[in-house]
Symmetry: C2
Subunit: 314 residues, 2 copies
């Protein structure tokens, strides 16, 4: 109920009367007042003016559990925000092992040891980047889980495009704009051989960066750079989480299939001559398709190959 | 070097002279003496008698890190033993996340929350059962890891047969004798979509139990019951670890293939009419083969099926 009141206040332009809240939510005005008190105790600044009602002091483009939660349109998402943390992914793992439920999301304003695929570092500069790790508990086999990475890529790509950014998906786990990385996805799982315990999807988005560390400068780009304006990270994260929450049940039911056509349309590698860099070798071919389990199909002189793992250069 | 001395003393019948140790290991007699002192500080009782040498007071059939380590014939296995712990599997997970190296093994004399597949309880009574969780870091893809369960089953079965126990493998993860469960194997993994971080193989063996909890009495059996004698758990675990350490590199290189024939020979289900119990259904068929990835092939009226997950009754 408190969450409902927070959402009403958060979406209102000016004041919202206690009477209106009471009618909308079917609780007494004393009930409304008690919830408002409780929200104030949690740290929300709620102004009340006689005959006008209540108004939430917005925290601007700040990134906080409150800011994200108040902007979510779907239920059942729990945000744990940190000002500074080594890695949201590692924290989410710890929570999942402790039994945290699905759709628990760890966010951070700054990561001191953020990581990408295969333990590579992922820069998360204070106040500018979006870092979130989502715990998922899906009714899938471990073998079926790998395809969640391209599925999430399609969903995230859709959200960014809706914001007017011309993004594309680069196999296996990046989202590019103007050929540079604007978002990375890191999926980890814990499983028995025939039962998935949990999945953690880590999302790192370059949002308000005006500059990048030297080593990633040639390959990274921020939403701010792409659009020329500052972004509200909490609004963006809420939009991403809402869309994932809405569409991942489709993945749980039907796998990657319903997302595959969109993936092919968004892909930067399909029908391109590419080089695959793997741990023990590099080789060339033409990317032609993606399998239902997320493997990339590459045509080479000696026939078709299925690629599970590797980095691509075009 | 200290470990070498411990092994020599552990295998000796009576006393071992300082001179002999010094010659065998190529260190000075003062060096030998210093290592002996250091072992004593670690808690080993080492008797020294002039003109005879050193003798290790054996801890009998006790189960301890010392007892297991001194009986190991292979290098590079580190034992962390607990008198009492909720679960060796959970402790091993925590260690693996903290960066513990492969072949770190967590053992316990008593588990208060031991678990089998799918979170089912696994009884580990103080002083009678063997519980061990082995951290492995293998150069395999997550998709290739599932077959380590039948591979480990073959290796463990071989060790038990060498001890004269007539054991068989029941798909997916049990070892039976006289049709009842003497050992269970629980494999868990943590992985990115295309990179295995670590595997943990949990082994639970019913060793010296004379009785079982009511609910498992009809289906469980102990080595003591089967052989009429008390077993030395530390010697058994050392034998299991030595054999796994010796033969798992073969799995890392060539997968389940080199173990498949043995598995088929040991299996209780091949060429039997079985019922498969899965989460949402039960169905009947004839088990005919096992795939390289560990899936069971079952012939039904409507054709062959591959089984990843489920419990079997015959």
């Amino acid at each position: 109920m408190k969450g409902e009141i927070l959402k009403m206040l958060s979406r209102a332009e000016g004041y919202t009367s206690g009477e209106h809240i009471s009618e909308q939510l079917g609780i007494s005005r004393t009930g409304v007042w008690k919830h408002i008190q409780s929200l104030r105790e949690e740290g929300y600044t709620i102004v009340s003016v006689r005959k006008k009602g209540y108004r939430l002091e917005h925290s601007g483009t700040g990134f906080s559990a409150h800011a994200v939660s108040s902007k979510l349109r779907t239920e059942g998402i729990h945000i744990e925000h940190h000002e500074k943390i080594p890695s949201t992914q590692t924290r989410a793992q710890r929570l999942a092992q402790g039994g945290a439920r699905g759709w628990t999301v760890v966010t951070a304003d700054e990561q001191t040891g953020g990581r990408g695929r295969r333990g590579r570092p992922w820069s998360t500069k204070k106040g500018t980047a979006l870092a979130a790790s989502i715990i998922l508990r899906l009714d899938k086999l471990p073998q079926e889980a790998a395809a969640i990475t391209p599925t999430a890529a399609v969903i995230i790509n859709d959200v960014l495009q809706r914001y007017g950014v011309d993004t594309r998906i680069k196999w296996p786990n990046d989202i590019l704009a103007e050929g540079r990385k604007v978002c990375g996805i890191l999926t980890e799982m814990h499983a028995e051989m025939d039962e998935l315990h949990y999945l953690i999807i880590g999302i790192g988005v370059n949002v308000n960066e005006t500059d990048f560390p030297e080593e990633i400068k040639p390959t990274a780009v921020s939403l701010r750079h792409l659009t020329g304006q500052e972004w509200d990270r909490s609004a963006l994260l809420a939009a991403l989480l809402d869309e994932l929450k809405k569409r991942l049940p489709e993945f749980e039911e039907n796998g990657f299939t319903p997302f595959r056509e969109d993936w092919l349309r968004y892909s930067t590698v399909i029908n391109k001559e590419i080089t695959i860099h793997q741990r023990h070798q590099s080789w060339k071919g033409r990317a032609v398709d993606i399998r239902e389990d997320g493997r990339l199909i590459v045509e080479t002189e000696t026939g078709q190959k299925e690629v599970i793992s590797g980095d691509i250069s075009i």
